[in-house]
Symmetry: none
């Protein structure tokens, strides 16, 4: 059996059982656990599964709440650190765009005490988070609520964005590599992010370590579209070159 074949079978098994142990899978295919671990890494990079200690679970997008909220739990420390650093780029009186990502939600949590801010977003969770901040003018794009992500997408939301022009946009994604750029797994979310980038003077890319070298099937943007790259871990050595070439400032939050 070839590796690809095994990996696709692992996916099928996971779809059935929802979660499995590395050991369990290794026995089924008669290979070492190390091999399975490598398979799982591969599958995780494609965003198909979620690796855990001892095994893996299906990255089931359809399981709205549970999946979404567990995902939020992943590397929340890192995302919080990123949010804190990103917040430093926002000053009293600024007008900014926050996208519908957990990373941006953490940015929102760190700007509550700033004065005279205007925040434009398509994320219901961010609206909820900031709705009690008297000193923040909150603008929602409106549109059809995508329940999986609790964000507004579609033509309405994009059109709404075109009414504004801001100084800074904070954008995340599903996966990133310097060669392929920012990738998402949902076209609508990708489109909204593209629209956001167009409406902003400067762009800040929020990229926690879990996104490194992950992939999605739709390209949202390229590294060169951004002015800042904020992350929570040392980046792979060869990325520095790409950042310099694209003239993107690197911020590592710790």
């Amino acid at each position: 059996m070839f590796g690809v074949e095994r990996r696709s079978r692992i996916l099928l098994l996971l779809q059935e059982k929802k979660s499995m142990l590395v050991h369990e899978i290794a026995v089924i295919f008669g290979v070492t656990e190390e091999t399975i671990r490598r398979d799982l890494k591969e599958l995780e990079k494609g965003g198909l599964i979620l690796r855990t200690h001892g095994g893996a679970i299906l990255a089931d997008e359809s399981k709205t709440e549970a999946a979404l909220e567990v995902r939020e739990g992943i590397n929340s420390a890192g995302k919080d650190a990123i949010g804190k650093e990103a917040a430093k780029l926002i000053h009293d009186g600024d007008t900014v765009i926050l996208d519908a990502s957990t990373s941006s939600l953490f940015v929102a949590k760190h700007i509550k005490d700033k004065k005279g801010l205007t925040v434009i977003t398509n994320a219901e969770r961010i609206i909820f988070e900031l709705s009690d901040c008297e000193d923040v003018t909150l603008i929602s794009t409106g549109g059809i609520l995508r329940q999986k992500s609790l964000s507004y997408v579609g033509k309405t939301a994009e059109t709404a964005l075109s009414n504004y022009h801001v100084s800074k946009a904070f954008i995340s994604c599903k996966g990133f590599s310097p060669q392929k750029g920012l990738m998402d797994s949902n076209e609508q979310e990708s489109d909204i992010r593209k629209a956001m980038l167009q409406r902003s003077e400067k762009a800040i890319f929020l990229c926690d370590r879990m996104k490194f070298d992950k992939v999605g099937y739709v390209v949202t943007a390229q590294l060169g579209d951004f002015d800042y790259f904020i992350t929570d871990a040392p980046i792979p050595a060869d990325w520095n070159e790409a950042l310099k070439e694209s003239n993107v400032a690197l911020v590592v939050a710790l």
Copy 2:
């Protein structure tokens, strides 16, 4: 079971029970309380729950509830009855507008089990209430959030409305009398309601007894603009005449 799984299950349990004891959770999953405490810390870091001495509660509840509780508390029994009656006018597959009023919120609470609904609203509170209903397509007008009422107002919100046409709009107000019509105390809220009435085939006026003969300083609509008048108490004798003249159906919820 993996840690992530357990944590996501804990969330589900909390959503069900609202609050739980550490001990209680530990027994359910067959792990030590220390492990559960670590889980709860993790979830708290992500802002999903609030830890208490001995257990945890859901993070969400507090904010929106508390903020609007006062307003909702006013004749909430009557408004609930009105909401229930109003919900009877909504059928599977309908597209409706709900305004940003407590009365409309109660309508929302009574339509959660209907199929294939589309709800257009400018009320954050209603979006929040319906955001977990898989069978409801939720459309937000978007715009600038008016924090006092947690509703979207302004030109953006009004323009967004003009993209839609619905079969029924549910509207409330601050005060009403047959002679003066529906009155509000906020021009922006009034304008949104006017826009909503224009976008709807039929209009339903939600008017609990507390609004009888109250006044506001801006007139939103006249009785004749509506098809139904739903209230929770016998109306003053001389109002019947006006209702009949305007060809408005009276529904008294009890």
